[in-house]
Symmetry: C2
Subunit: 226 residues, 2 copies
């Protein structure tokens, strides 16, 4: 059976795994899970039976079901070692994982769909304040990342050297969110340069919003067609 | 120079690394960073210079500074392989990482101090609703974890087999938070059994709230002294 990825076009976590699968050249099938329709398909008993944490992504390989984007990517790194997404030395691997987690742990979960829903439905937060909330955490995260990448000699064409890796994989979906929210990215020149580099590669382009079979909108980095 | 850990007694992320250092037997010095005093010492220029994401923990080993608790623990696993905190096979490692991340990514960041502060200060959320918020995400996370661990043959004395590992390391600090918030844990019998097992081990006991040099309160699992 072909590798399957349960995915939603706009999910940053699913986007990360799509990029990793593409970079590793793993032939796979995308199975869309609509996070908004039908009360959220990820909360259905059918899906929860496969993934009890009721979130995307979920990778199926043979008998194995793996959730959590970073756990999936570490698994892909171990089972499809080439091209590598992590550096060779323990200290550089730690640095790359930490920066990836600055996004995946300290930014993304706080602006996740279910969190924004709780803000609006349970706490009566306005749409405007909900957007300010998302942007506040994105801004803090991107600021910290810009500080860390702006002056580090390990940065090359991509976040770590001249090959795309785990930081780029986490950065690009987060920049999609920032662009989609029309945030000003002028304060993040290093991040935007890396983003632009990534978006020249088919692995990133083909994983992006617009290219998904369940896409309902355009990539924010691509001007809408006339 | 001895390994140093910048830590705050109640920080779940720092707690995880304290447990890992103890399990691995890494001789280390704790340097307290008070997250509440002086407007939050983690936001000071002095600390941000060491750790631009302005959070604890931060591990210093020789010339290396590593942040993000899970990145630190992966680094410790690579540099101090015994006893191992991750399983031997890629698929079991993926499972353990995913469950650890169910806590470290999908629960903990949403109830973090800076997030609760934003809720109260920027969104005017009441103390009561702020507590309900924290408990909502903890409950969702523990429920999912109980479902995943309750019927898995990989579970032994601890979450994976009979030796403590990464899931236990993430679970115990989260249970501390739940107990401290006086949440009812009856719905999580597997988690509480594992928690109790962990709390018989010096590595966990010595990493816990009460045992920290900067502690200001008791472990919630220990009845207050008369």
């Amino acid at each position: 059976m072909k590798t399957q990825l349960y995915s939603f076009w706009r999910s940053s976590a699913a986007f990360r795994v799509r990029i990793a699968l593409n970079l590793k050249g793993v032939d796979h099938q995308i199975i869309p899970v609509h996070l908004l329709k039908n009360g959220g398909e990820q909360t259905s008993a059918h899906y929860a039976n496969k993934n009890p944490n009721r979130l995307v992504p979920l990778l199926i390989e043979g008998d194995h079901a793996i959730h959590q984007s970073l756990a999936i990517i570490e698994y892909l790194e171990e089972t499809y070692p080439n091209p590598p997404l992590l550096p060779k030395t323990a200290i550089d691997r730690a640095w790359v994982r930490a920066l990836a987690m600055d996004i995946a742990i300290d930014v993304h979960p706080i602006g996740n769909l279910r969190v924004l829903r709780y803000l609006m439905k349970n706490l009566g937060v306005s749409a405007e304040n909900k957007d300010a909330w998302s942007q506040h955490w994105i801004m803090l995260g991107l600021e910290s990342l810009e500080n860390q990448l702006g002056n580090d000699t390990r940065v090359g064409r991509f976040a770590y050297g001249d090959q795309p890796g785990l930081i780029d994989i986490c950065l690009v979906p987060q920049i999609f969110n920032a662009l989609s929210a029309k945030m000003d990215t002028a304060a993040y020149p290093t991040l935007m340069r890396i983003f632009d580099e990534c978006m020249t590669l088919p692995a990133f382009i083909n994983a992006s919003w617009e290219k998904q079979i369940d896409a309902e909108g355009l990539n924010p980095s691509i001007p809408p067609k006339e």
